[in-house]
């Protein structure tokens, strides 16, 4: 019996010490894993910090590279060629002055693309409300992947470039006839521009006259804003409701902004302008029903005018073309060519249209993105990216003050050990 008790004690001792050792080993292993994990986490944070800092430097360098070189060839914005070096600087200037034409060729990443079945082409779309279009065919627009390649960041970084005007010129119609009263407010970023000089142009579609095509009258003028940055303008010659477009440039010191306002008496069918050829300044104009398949199918007549801002800050209009448009099969569109002597300068294509004497309207298209102070957003979507850095520069686009903002993110992941 004693022998059995002794054996039992030995077995119990053995089992107890083995369990102790097993537990110790497991505790050590657990401690090692916890240690590695915590240490790794600390290092990961340090590396991430350094990566983010690097990304910020890269963003700043990349933004300067984009804004401080005109690209190759330098005049790619005014031609139909695909650039072999990407840059947005105006080739006629230095520093942060951007080409309004190069910006016009960037494929917009925010507007819903427009497909026009008659040409079979899809168009990049910047539309700023009714009657203000910039539609560039994908075949002529420069897309994100090409630019990423040209910048040498294809597959390594994603980016989005946003160009937005700094000076806001808002126009409100206080009274629409007898007389027409417009209120103009000019503001910078959060402050009004007092005593800013404004230069304006009122293009009114005439009732009747001009034969079958809509005739128009143009009135120019200049004024100054008050201490609140606003001014009231009265046009006593407007006795009845008419279609008109009011274009205004405001400038104070070196800061310039622009605004526009349209009033149409008829929008059932209208004209939609599409860029057709940059080098030749050719614009394709289509009947709205052909593009959207909604609205009125009625024929409209049109009268196209090119408005430019002269060096003395006055506006000048140049008649371009007139005709009529009917929706339908085949090639139911027309071409308007901006005269060669003015197409190298930015301007506004103003197209007045008419269905009947009382049913008229007007649409605008910028020739050079700054002419109507259109914003431009180009590139990928930063939403959902793990870490996005942004940098900004104040730039000038044909005299108009803009802010260029570049958002940049890495496409290579964020591990401690970088991907090869």
């Amino acid at each position: 019996m004693e022998q059995y008790d002794c054996l039992l004690e030995v077995k119990q001792e053995m089992a107890g010490s083995t369990i102790d050792h097993l537990i110790s080993v497991m505790v050590f292993m657990g401690a090692l894993l916890v240690f590695i994990s915590l240490f790794n986490q600390t290092l990961q944070t340090a590396i991430l910090y350094q990566r983010h800092r690097y990304l910020a430097t890269k963003c700043s360098d990349l933004l300067d590279n984009i804004l401080l070189n005109p690209g190759i060839p330098a005049d790619w914005g005014k031609s139909n060629v695909t650039p072999v070096g990407f840059g947005l600087q105006d080739p006629e200037f230095t520093q942060y002055r951007l080409s309004p034409f190069s910006l016009m060729r960037l494929q917009s990443s925010v507007g819903e693309p427009v497909y026009y079945s008659r040409t079979g082409l899809t168009y990049s779309n910047i539309t700023m409300g009714f009657g203000n279009f910039l539609l560039v065919p994908y075949t002529e627009a420069i897309d994100y992947s090409v630019v990423a390649k040209l910048l040498g960041i294809n597959g390594t970084y994603g980016f989005q470039l946003a160009i937005t005007p700094i000076v806001t010129v808002s126009i409100e119609e206080m009274q629409w006839k007898n007389p027409l009263i417009l209120s103009i407010k000019v503001a910078g970023v959060g402050f009004p521009l007092a005593n800013a000089r404004i230069s304006y142009c009122l293009l009114t579609v005439s009732e009747g006259g001009g034969g079958p095509y809509p005739s128009y009258t143009v009135e120019y003028g200049a004024n100054f804003t008050n201490a609140q940055g606003s001014v009231l303008l009265k046009f006593s010659n407007i006795k009845n409701e008419v279609s008109y477009v009011f274009i205004v440039y405001a400038y104070l010191g070196g800061l310039m902004g622009m605004g526009y306002y349209e009033h149409v008496t008829y929008s059932g069918s209208y004209i939609i302008p599409f860029i057709d050829n940059f080098a030749e300044g050719r614009i394709l104009i289509a009947h709205s029903y052909d593009v959207h398949n909604i609205g009125d199918t009625a024929q409209v007549t049109y009268n196209a005018t090119f408005v430019v801002l002269t060096k003395s800050f006055t506006l000048q209009s140049i008649p371009v073309a007139r005709g009529n448009l009917t929706y339908g099969l085949g090639f139911p569109y027309a071409y308007v060519t901006i005269p060669e002597n003015v197409r190298k300068n930015p301007g506004i294509l103003v197209i007045t249209y008419r269905k009947s004497t009382q049913e008229t309207g007007v649409v605008l298209m910028p020739w050079g993105i700054s002419s109507l102070a259109f914003p431009a957003v180009f590139g990928g979507d930063p939403t959902g990216q793990e870490w996005v850095v942004a940098d900004v520069r104040q730039v000038i686009v044909n005299g108009i003050a803009y802010q260029a903002r570049l958002a940049l993110w890495s496409l290579e992941g964020y591990g401690v050990v970088a991907k090869k």
């Binding site: 240690f35 590396i47 690097y54 590279n65 070096g85």
Partner: protein, 160 residues
């Protein structure tokens, strides 16, 4: 006696191994961190110098600039964690049809004494030539030199 053998012959070395694993793991992780840190720092410098070269090139490439020599001091640190670095470049023609007629300057930077290397690429125009030269970070003459000739050719090189 058998269980004591199991404990001391097998378990004890295992425990000792565990103790050794701590510093080994720490050392490995530290090496990874130090390598990543240095690589990132070198990459940042490389990217900045590449960007500066591109800006110097495009500044000289402007139609209003005729024959001229420009020297650009680059705002980069002379040392990365007490190690100097060197840079060499090769100019290549682009094979990608989308980038046709442009040239790519491939710059390789190396951390002296450590061996860490990074590469950066700069897209330039067809009128560029590269003069064989080395960028030495701790040299007092470390810079980018660009020379535009009357025929429009731009010759780039490192100074120092």
């Amino acid at each position: 006696m058998a269980h004591i053998t199991i404990e001391y012959i097998i378990m004890l070395p295992v425990l000792i191994l565990q103790i050794l694993l701590f510093p080994l793991a720490a050392s490995w992780l530290m090496n990874v961190w130090v390598d990543s840190r240095r690589t990132l720092a070198l990459q940042e410098v490389a990217s900045h110098i590449g960007s500066s070269i591109q800006q110097v090139y495009f500044a000289l490439n402007h139609a209003t600039v005729t024959a001229k020599i420009v020297t650009q001091k680059v705002d980069v640190p002379p040392f990365i964690e007490n190690y100097p670095y060197t840079g060499n470049a090769t100019l290549k023609s682009v094979l990608d049809p989308e980038l046709n007629s442009s040239k790519v300057l491939e710059i390789t930077f190396r951390l002296v004494g450590v061996g860490t290397t990074v590469k950066t690429m700069v897209i330039l125009g067809g009128n560029v030539v590269w003069r064989e030269s080395t960028f030495v970070s701790n040299s007092t003459n470390a810079c980018i030199t660009a020379e535009k000739f009357a025929n429009g050719t731009i010759r780039l090189s490192f100074g120092g």
